[in-house]
């Protein structure tokens, strides 16, 4: 089998992590540099994925497949399509930014910190490129370990509680997914864990799942993914993990980890269990809508900026799930787009929160006010990101939300109407927070002498701001590459449903 660049991108970070292991603990500067260089190298290597991606091909690209555990039919099989391409890129873009963002804020155990960051990157990319169920599960689980350490060692006050909660929630979901994976393997004749071949068997009618099998397997997969998303009412781990994680951890959590849930739904749940998908759509959409409104309302009353952003994630991810289960082109495409948007703008928001936290060691909204005066650059970027998050036209958030709502209206008007209120609410809580933090007089004397963003901080926000504009103005470049894959997934959901019903 030909060798794929995806393998190199996936394992380069963990190679870098191994390198760190052999470096002296004390040379923190060198450790940081190596970590940054490795992650930048991964970014560089991932750029050709974007430019060489064939947007007319609905199938997998950059594939590689090697036998791993032959006696069980387990392969190392990787590849990307229009659905996973941008999530891989999101990971490779965000990782160097987070590494650079923790340049000064991580003082203790620097080597271990960057070690786990790089391990995490390998895990995340692995989840998005894996095409073998077993391999996917391995990455899905293994990725928990570095994240757990990042929250638990470098987190805030209640970090241990948050880390353990994060781990256990995800674990409970994923063991059930494991049962479903093994069950699917047996139903398919116990020869392979390969996702594309199982899918092909389903489509050719070689593998037929009856309604109850579809239903239970769907639920087992969906439960694991819904915890990760997190879908209301499984979201309670998220505020804890987000708030307690160090800034870089929050950025990665919001930016990439939550997307694993929605990615899993689109990649596995929809095409493999079309009938169950269609049957459960109303229920899941309802939960998504509840999540949108609930997340927004809870965000509104937060006094801690980071918590506010965390709850806004619940609301935003509700939109993504609603878009997916609109089961039409606009909805699904909007959901895919919104996954990226959320990664970029919420990532940027967490970075900004981290920056003022570094200066003031507090995140309470009451402590601030009038920051526009001492921090003009900060305030400007904060404004752009806030607008992006609430979906102002010309910025990225608008495209995603618009498409999702378009899709949702086509699917179910009631849900769409309620969801629209979420857009309004998000404008309320974001702008209100922005106003209290940035505008007005500088009431707190501690805020008067704050230094504005330095070169490093500007440098790490710049690419995100550029992406916010690019994705808002020229969305075509992104949507074109998603198009065929998204349509294929929809085709699978619709056509297979007919086959089963016959």
């Amino acid at each position: 089998m030909p060798y794929s660049i995806l393998t190199l991108i996936t394992f380069l970070p963990i190679g870098g992590a191994a390198l760190l292991l052999f470096m002296r603990k004390a040379s923190t500067g060198a450790l940081r540099n190596i970590a940054l260089i490795v992650s930048l190298l991964a970014l560089l290597l991932s750029l050709p994925l974007f430019s060489n991606f064939d947007s007319s091909n609905p199938g997998m690209q950059f594939e590689q497949s090697v036998a791993w555990i032959p006696s069980l039919g387990i392969q190392y099989h990787v590849g990307i399509d229009g659905i996973s391409l941008f999530l891989v890129l999101l990971t490779t873009v965000l990782t160097p930014i987070t590494i650079l963002s923790s340049w000064n804020s991580i003082e203790k155990r620097v080597r271990e910190y960057y070690l786990f960051m790089l391990m995490l990157e390998t895990g995340m990319i692995g989840v998005f490129v894996a095409l073998d169920f077993f391999l996917f599960y391995v990455f899905w689980e293994v990725m928990l370990v570095p994240m757990y350490f990042l929250i638990g060692v470098w987190g805030g006050q209640r970090r241990i509680y948050a880390a353990v909660k994060f781990f256990l929630y995800t674990m409970v979901g994923s063991v059930l997914m494991l049962v479903a994976i093994i069950a699917l393997y047996f139903l398919n004749g116990a020869t392979t864990f390969d996702f594309p071949s199982i899918l092909a068997n389903l489509q050719s009618g070689n593998l037929v799942l009856n309604s109850s099998q579809q239903y239970w397997l769907f639920l087992a997969f969906f439960f694991a993914f819904a915890i990760k998303v997190p879908l209301f009412p499984l979201h309670t781990w998220l505020p804890d993990a987000h708030v307690e994680a160090p800034t870089a951890g929050s950025v990665i959590l919001a930016g990439v980890l939550l997307k694993m849930g929605t990615y899993g739904i689109v990649r596995f749940c929809l095409p493999i269990f079309p009938e169950a998908t269609r049957e459960l759509t109303p229920l899941i959409s309802l939960l998504a809508v509840v999540g949108i409104v609930y997340g927004a309302l809870v965000a509104m009353v937060q006094t801690d900026i980071k918590k506010l952003v965390a709850y806004s994630s619940v609301s935003h991810l509700g939109f993504v799930v609603l878009g997916i289960f609109a089961l039409n082109e606009q909805g699904l495409q909007g959901a895919m787009y919104q996954m990226l948007n959320h990664g970029i703008s919420t990532g940027a928001l967490f970075l900004l929160v981290g920056m003022i936290y570094d200066r003031r060691h507090t995140r309470l909204i009451d402590e601030f006010g009038g920051l526009a005066d001492p921090l003009p650059v900060f305030s400007t970027i904060f404004m752009i990101v806030t607008f992006s998050s609430i979906g102002l036209p010309m910025l990225n958030g608008f495209v995603g939300e618009f498409l999702i709502l378009l899709g949702a209206f086509n699917a179910n008007v009631t849900f769409a109407v309620v969801a629209t209120s979420g857009v309004i609410l998000s404008a309320v809580y974001m702008l209100w927070m922005y106003q209290r933090v940035i505008f007005g007089e500088v009431k707190n004397p501690k805020n008067k002498k704050l230094a504005d963003l330095d070169f490093r901080e500007k440098l790490l926000l710049l690419p995100l701001v550029a992406l916010i504009f690019w994705m808002g103005i020229y969305s075509e470049a992104f949507l074109r590459r998603m198009d065929t894959s998204v349509n294929q997934v929809l085709q699978q959901v619709k056509s297979s449903a007919v086959v089963v019903k016959n």
Partner: protein, 482 residues
Amino acid sequence: MQGSLALEIQQILPEISLSIFGIAIILLDTFLVKSKRHVATGIALVGIAVTAVFTLGLVGEDGSFFSGMIVVDDFSIFFRITFLIIGALTILASSSYIARENLAVGEFQALVLFAIVGMNLMVASNELIMIFLGLETLSISSYILLGIKRADPKSNESALKYFLLGSFSSAFLLYGIALAYGATRTTNLELIGREIAAGSASMALIYVAVGLLFVGIGFKVAVVPFHVWTPDVYEGAPTPITAFMSVGPKAAGFAILIRVLMVAFPATYGKWLGLVWLSAVLTMTVGNCVAIVQSNIKRMLAYSSIAHAGYILVAVTTRNQEGVAAILFYTLVYALMNIGAFTIVALVGRRGDQKSHIDDFAGLGFKQPGLAAALSILLLSLAGIPLTAGFAGKFFIFRAALESQFVWLTIIGVINSAISVYYYLHVIVVMYMKEPTDDELPVAMTPSTLSVIALSVFGVLQFGMFPDLLINFARNSILGFR
């Protein structure tokens, strides 16, 4: 006849060689001055190596010897090899422990060898009497080993408890054997199976016999509700012996459980299935739930070992080839991870095992990163996180369970596995996320303990990432079985 006697002797050469080395160690010990007695460790290791050669020489042999008392098949050879690995690791791990705690090295190492002889005889037999003899050889050796810290009341308590409950369970086992004999006029497993199949045995007696045998073996492998002795015995025992007890007798017990149930009583599958199913669920659940609240790491690992017995029982329930192969795989990798973990626990415990509280591990993650990383990997393996052998083992077990359509059992099993993550993580939390509570000097490593830890971590990762080699070996080992 001469030739055939030589042939028969050849089949038990491993046991003969272990016994000779054991006796040699004891004899030598009396003649050596105290400072030289530590050579016993070396001799024991040589004994294991020599035995390994004899054992590997038997691979491929198939047949029964000594009027059916001894059977040699790949199944028994797999377990004999497992026991040798367990023995070698125990001997290596205990050498510095013995020196630290000032224990009698000769007796210690000789008894470990005798215990292996007992386990070997258990698995290499198709005969209930022989199984019982093997079990007693093992038990008597372990009674002494558990109490070998004569001045330590906890060690005494441990030995006495195990002795009392062990004899109790032996009585159950014997009673079961007697009833099976009464019903079928034989103690040979295959003949028992044939008698039952022929319909000439009293089924009422057989059911009671199966129940009593299960109770007797259940005590040894510590399945719920016969597990109550485990935490106290494990806590008080010298730590390397705890490690040994948690993997060796357990593996041997499961080996004979499989043989007894599948060779002698396959016809009563419908009857014992419910019993084993329920016991599996209880064993996993009780083990995991009680492990959560433990503050002593040895007690925690004791409950964890109960839980792991539950996972293995899941595989017993399946009664398919894959399930049996999974048991073989699991007992070996479980031995690696548990001995590795207990070795580190013994090191951190320091003199007199004073520091066996989980909080004593605080800050280890950054004081001794290598040791803590090794323990983390072993604990993650016990928890069943992918890329470790513990995950591969559970994967094979649950795969076998689903193959036999035990969906609920599988779901209860994986949820238990998720629960177990909590208490294994707790140790990692303490190591990496809590500040050290005292200014203890770093733990002193010796080459022997280092090699045990390195071997177990290597094995856990090797069989975790590439389980093919071992699982295929396990599968081949049960081809001739049944």
